[in-house]
């Protein structure tokens, strides 16, 4: 059986499973559509939240970004897990106690203001749509690879699948489907990593193999990797190169953003009890950690494999020949990925070999002049293909490659569906039913929910054609926006009775606007290419890149809310009582009634 059929079999089989589950658990009422009737066990909920959470960014993109940068991109690992500590300690139990469907409902009620709710909805929509762009990128790459077409066509096909998939299920369908998706994606991520770890270090656990010994050289794996990338003129893998301030702010933005993302917070509305909301955050992190502890190993080992493939005779020997790339089955993956337009090479100096090195490095420029090289000849290696290409790079059996394709799609689909659900509930439940047409019937609310999903996909596809970065970087921008707008409002709403309606609205708007401005200045207005005034290589504010600005936006939000609240009227007594009731678990069952 050829690889194409095998991929089709795995992807088709996993899709049939998800659709089957979605039909079996179809949402009948609006309450089931949004919150699955609050009957989901913490472990099940944790697994579904993990699938919801781990998107194309975690599965497809993250290990690639770590592989090509090394230590500096550890921010993704710490940021996207550390946020769960904030979520579990500062938000989840209280929002569950409050007992409504959506994040903006809490903000609207706590700050006793329809304006606050509207502003929250706008913040949620902006963050979620940016996030969906990143997912669509991942979907495009995965579909591009497994259908062997270019990534843009892959994106268009993928978006139709995502739409069909998200529109038919609500939260309940999505919860059980996501449990299945978690199982598919974690298997798909772990199996190739185990194989590769065994090949390179003899240790079956990739997380331990990363700090283990490279069997063929007898040196520690990371020391060997450091030496190879140094020989090729690249920055040392384990060393810090970027600015410390930027790394701290970036990590913090990802953490706060995690705790401010509507589709993640929404999951904690679906557990039966307040104490379960606390456990549920822990279980979610257990399931996420299974992937996140493996990811850095995947990155480092792939980087080592790629470097050795390009220099089969060692970094002092001859580079790989064009003939070998074209004929040796070990290099067949390069031709396959070339079709997606995400990998390319060119024999610039016509010596029949492909030299892969850092042509911006002075030492290597000297070596190149000596050997007649005319620049790096591995001209394009999109970071986002690394995880999907990884089993092929390591010459693993065909079924592993098919499994990884299915896993990547599971990750992208589950998150895209969760986000679309958050977007649709923001529009139909908060905007239409909550503000514009309160007398809307359940049926037209569901219809509006589905129409807004469709609109969100169209916007995401249009913007996803020219994305502002690699998938994980686009997603990081979404986190910055959520960090600057939603998280501070939620946290102050619970931990301070002094923050009032005016303060919260001013804070959210200030946080959102400064962050959005900073992002647009660096990534182009509305992400339209070439409209940016600064670049992340040389940012406006010292070392602070646009992906790291969310933490500063959050600080602005807190400060503005504090000072504006201080200058305006105190919160009314009934709101103080609401806050006090949210702080204790007792009576949670009674609060669960809908809007």
């Amino acid at each position: 059986m050829d690889q194409f059929t095998l991929n089709l079999l795995f992807v088709g089989g996993s899709f049939a499973l998800y659709i089957g589950i979605a039909i079996w658990a179809r949402a009948g009422s609006t309450s089931e559509f949004y919150a699955a009737g609050r009957g989901v066990h913490p472990v099940t909920n944790g697994m579904a939240t993990a699938a919801d959470w781990m998107s194309a960014a975690s599965f497809i993109s993250m290990a690639g970004l770590i592989a090509f940068t090394g230590y500096d991109n550890s921010s993704f690992l710490m940021g996207w897990t550390g946020g769960y500590v904030l979520l579990a300690l500062l938000l989840a139990p209280y929002l569950r106690k409050f007992g409504k469907f959506t994040v903006s409902e809490f903000i609207g009620d706590r700050f006793y203001s329809p304006t606050a709710r509207l502003v929250a909805v706008i913040c949620l929509l902006i963050a979620s749509i940016t996030y969906v762009i990143g997912q669509m990128q991942g979907v495009g790459i995965a579909f591009g690879r497994f259908l062997e077409i270019d990534a843009t066509t892959g994106l268009l096909i993928g978006s139709c699948v995502v739409f069909a998939y998200a529109v038919f299920g609500g939260m309940k369908g999505v919860t059980y489907t996501q449990v299945a998706q978690y199982c598919v994606l974690i298997t798909a991520y772990t199996i190739p990593a185990v194989f590769i770890s065994l090949q390179l270090t003899g240790n079956p656990i990739p997380a331990l193999g990363l700090f283990g010994e490279h069997t063929s050289s007898g040196e520690p794996l990371l020391a060997k990797l450091d030496q190879i990338v140094r020989d090729l003129g690249f920055a040392e893998y384990t060393a810090a190169h970027g600015s410390t301030i930027n790394m701290v702010l970036f990590t913090l933005s990802l953490m706060i953003g995690t705790a401010g993302l509507p589709h993640v917070i929404m999951r904690f509305f679906t557990v039966p009890r307040v104490s379960d909301a606390r456990w549920s955050a822990g279980w979610t992190l257990v399931f996420i950690a299974l992937l996140y502890l493996t990811a850095p190993a995947v990155g480092a080992m792939a980087r080592l494999n790629i470097s050795e493939l390009m220099w089969p005779n060692g970094t002092d020997g001859a580079a790989v020949s064009v003939e070998q790339i074209e004929n040796d089955p070990q290099y067949a993956w390069m031709a396959t990925w070339q079709k997606t337009g995400l990998l390319d090479w060119e024999d610039k100096n016509g010596d029949g070999m492909i030299q892969y090195y850092n042509d911006a490095n002075a030492d290597l420029q000297a070596k190149a002049a000596e050997n007649g090289w005319q620049g790096n000849e591995l001209t394009n290696f999109n970071r986002d293909i690394l995880v999907l290409a990884n089993p092929e790079i390591a010459s693993l059996p065909g079924w592993v490659i098919g499994l990884v394709a299915a896993g990547g799609l599971a990750a992208a689909l589950s998150t895209a569906a969760g986000l679309l659900l958050a977007i649709s509930s923001a529009v139909s439940h908060d905007l239409l039913k909550g503000q514009l047409t309160p007398n809307m019937s359940e049926k037209s609310e569901l219809l509006a929910a589905r129409i807004s999903m469709a609109a969100a996909i169209v916007v995401a596809v249009l913007l996803g054609l020219n994305p502002p970065g690699f998938a994980a970087q686009t997603v990081a921008l979404a986190f910055g926006l959520a960090a600057a707008s939603i998280f501070p409002a939620l946290m102050m709403g619970i931990f301070s009775t002094r923050i009032n309606n005016t303060g919260a609205v001013a804070g959210m708007l200030a946080g959102l606007v400064v962050t959005l401005l900073y992002i647009f200045l660096h990534k182009g207005w509305f992400f339209i290419p070439d409209t940016n005034m600064f670049t992340d290589a040389d940012p406006l504010l010292g070392p602070i890149k646009s992906t790291s600005f969310g933490a500063i936006g959050a600080a602005v939000n807190f400060a503005v809310a504090y000072f504006v609240s201080g200058a305006t009227k105190e919160t009314p007594q009934e709101i103080v009582e609401l806050v006090e009731s949210v702080r204790v678990p007792r009576g949670a069952g009674a609060a669960a009634a809908g809007h």
Binding site: T81, Y84, L89, T244, R273, R278, W279, L293, R586
Partner: protein, 87 residues
């Protein structure tokens, strides 16, 4: 007035204390050991690199896990101690 009530509420105070301790640990392992204090830990070798690298790529995640379960366990205990658990 009710600000005072809250401040005097021993359940809420115990919760705030627990949150503060947990978040201090959270910040030390990630921002501390993983990033800012990494140069200080560079003498401690771990599998071909140093302890700071391990904290940045694995250690902090493991500590986060322990923190969340510890907090859930302690809080569920506090709920019962102060009689505010769910019926």
């Amino acid at each position: 007035m009710s600000q005072n009530q809250q401040e005097q509420n021993p359940y809420w105070q115990a919760n705030i204390r627990l949150i503060t301790i947990s978040l201090v640990i959270w910040a030390i392992v990630s921002f501390g050991f993983g990033i800012i204090l990494r140069p200080l830990l560079s003498g401690i070798a771990v599998g071909g690199t140093d302890l700071g690298f391990w904290f940045a790529q694995q250690g902090s995640i493991l500590v986060f896990l322990v923190l969340i379960f510890f907090y859930a366990w302690r809080m569920n205990g506090l709920d019962r101690k102060y009689g505010v658990e769910e019926e």
